[in-house]
């Protein structure tokens, strides 16, 4: 068996961050499909579309106009349709309150945006690998908490 192909979605209002994100996955040798959205509203519209293909991992920036990451998180967690999506918070903030709060609300991964591109690549690759491990080894997804 080889690596599964992973569908990854990012919602971030920062153009540079979206660029880093896409470039990092491009350079990683993991089979992935990446989609990006400019804000929470755009993301939720896409997810709620009846024909939407749901991502394996959803990366959410916390600080977004129109609809914040935490609002998206709560909305997604309250909808059974999205229960299989692993949610990664992707934020500049590393305050303990923010981190704990998002975990409590149901996030699986918390990533503090790194300031080095190679670190970013490493982190994203780790996320995909661990998510895949959870997927392939039938681990309890409720216990899937990861902070990078």
């Amino acid at each position: 068996m080889q690596e599964d192909f992973t569908y990854v979605v990012l919602a971030d209002d920062d153009e540079d961050d979206r660029l880093f994100f896409v470039e990092a996955f491009d350079e990683l040798k993991i089979q992935t499909k990446v989609d990006v959205y400019k804000d929470g509203l755009e993301l939720m519209d896409a997810l709620n579309h009846p024909d939407a293909v749901l991502p394996n991992i959803l990366f959410l920036d916390l600080n977004m106009p129109k609809k914040s990451g935490i609002e998206c998180l709560i909305e997604i967690k309250s909808n059974k349709k999205f229960k299989d999506i692993a949610i990664a918070i992707y934020s500049t903030s590393a305050s303990e309150e923010d981190i704990e709060d998002t975990f409590v609300q149901g996030a699986n991964i918390y990533i503090k945006k790194p300031s080095d591109f190679n670190d970013l690549k490493k982190i994203l690759s780790d996320v995909v690998t661990i998510n895949w491990q959870y997927h392939t080894n039938a681990l309890d997804k409720d216990n899937f908490l990861l902070r990078l």
């Binding site: 880093f20 500049t92 305050s95 303990e96 300031s115 080095d116 591109f117």
Partner: protein
Amino acid sequence: MNLPLKFIARSERFLKIIFGASLFIVLVMGGVAYKYIKELSKSIDDVQHNYQVHIALERMASALKDAESGKRGFMISRDSTYLEPLLVSSSAFDNSLKDLEELTKNNPEQQKNIAELKIKVDKNIEIFQKTLELSTSNDFDSPEFIAAFREGRQTMNSVRFKINQMTAHENDVLSLAREISSKRLSNAPMLVYYVLILSLLILLLTYLQITKNLKILKEKNELLETFKKSTIQSEIISKHGNWIWHIEENIYEYSDNLYRLLGEEPQSFDPNLDNYLSFVHPDDVEKLMEHVEEMMENEDLPFIHYRIIQKNGAIKHFKAYAKLLVDSDGHKRLLGTTADITNEIENYRLIEKRNLELERSNKELSSFNYVASHDLQEPLRKIQTFLSRLEDKEKDKLSNSGKLYIERIKSSSSRMRSLIDDLLQFSRTNKSEEAFEESNLNILLETAKHDLAEIIGDKRARITSDSMPSMKVIPFQIKQLFLNLLSNSLKYSRENTPPAITITYSLTNASDLPKIKYSKFNTYHTITVQDNGIGFDQEYAEKIFILFNRLHNKNEYSGTGIGLSICKKIVDNHNGYITAVGDTNTGSTFTVYLPKT
């Protein structure tokens, strides 16, 4: 103070009892004396009575003798004048008998004797008459006469005997009565004496008691006087006045200082409600009246607050309180205290205002700090990321000086990053009670060591630590404390000497800590972090905890000057203390004292 008063109340009751008892005793004594006097006069009467009976009996006997001798004289002389006493004695006889009867009407035996006597006397007189008749006929030798004469003599004797008997009986009665009364009367002086002694004793006791009470009362009075003076003094100093409302009479009493609080001369107007209300601030009159009505209804006044206006226009804030007092006679009075709290209110408002300002500026400061550092991170992170992209992808195309510039930009931006990180850390290191939880300090230390694993490995540092107990702390802050202290020791290590850091734990009594003289905690957890680094001059031991204070040029060592300030803030948050001892080129020791709760 209560005790002597109680004692007096008790002794008052005691005195009442004593008074009652002595009244009773005196009455009893009077009664007894009266009875004795009565008895004495009765015994005198008895004697007199006895004497009269004697006289009567004597008289009777002599009358009888007179009659007898008269009879004999007549018989001898035939002179009828001898018969005169006979006639007299007969009536005297009757009189005496009548007297006797009267005298002895209470004595049944004597009555009986008198009746017998009467019969005997009558018979005697009869015989007497008979013999007299016989003698008149000169029939002296007739047997009749002789018989009558003999009979006369016999009855005469029996009368005499009876009289003697009666006299003897009367003597007996008298001596019996004498005996009884003398026996009784002999006890009387003794009894009177005893009662007198007892009365004197009671009197003495009462006197002692009263003197004692008087003494106590005097002391009380002096105390009251002092108390009154100190009350007046305290009224003036603490700006309050007292008032009394006599509920039944609906009369008010105001203390001098209450007048002064209103800006008036003491007792310069009648203490009544209307006069008082004229001082109250118009806006508060209604409220105060409600309270007063409630007070009259409930006979109680909880804390109330109102304003008054003095004649000179000054507005003062008053606080009043009253409580019901029922004295021992059942009179109800409401004791009130009114205090001028204008200064307190003004101070309180000032403090409140300053607090609000402080709170606001604190909030502004910390949110400025947070926002500044947080928002600064964003562009900086991008600069760094783009730099890393540039380095990875375009480095080969750059000239040597270009590469050097990139290096310089990298080091500047990473310094900026650590500054921002530390500032953020500092502004986040706040105290919140909920964050405190029972934590295993050993684990927190391990976590800190783990965060530093890389640099520990690079520097081949050796870290040893005592086992520490669990305590109630803000876990992530204590971890940060360990992290900062360890990284401080690692950072300021001597060149070519692998850092050796020793962490020890002990308990210290607050009294042994000179800096913590007036602590509310008795014992302190004491954690020391000792290293063999470059140390510092003890002169700077206090300075190193101040924000942005660095002892070294930033090119030599990479510190931001925030790390130890964070340590201090963390320890402050835990009500603890941190001290530093340094010795240049030997090492430094940081000691953290956390209160044992």
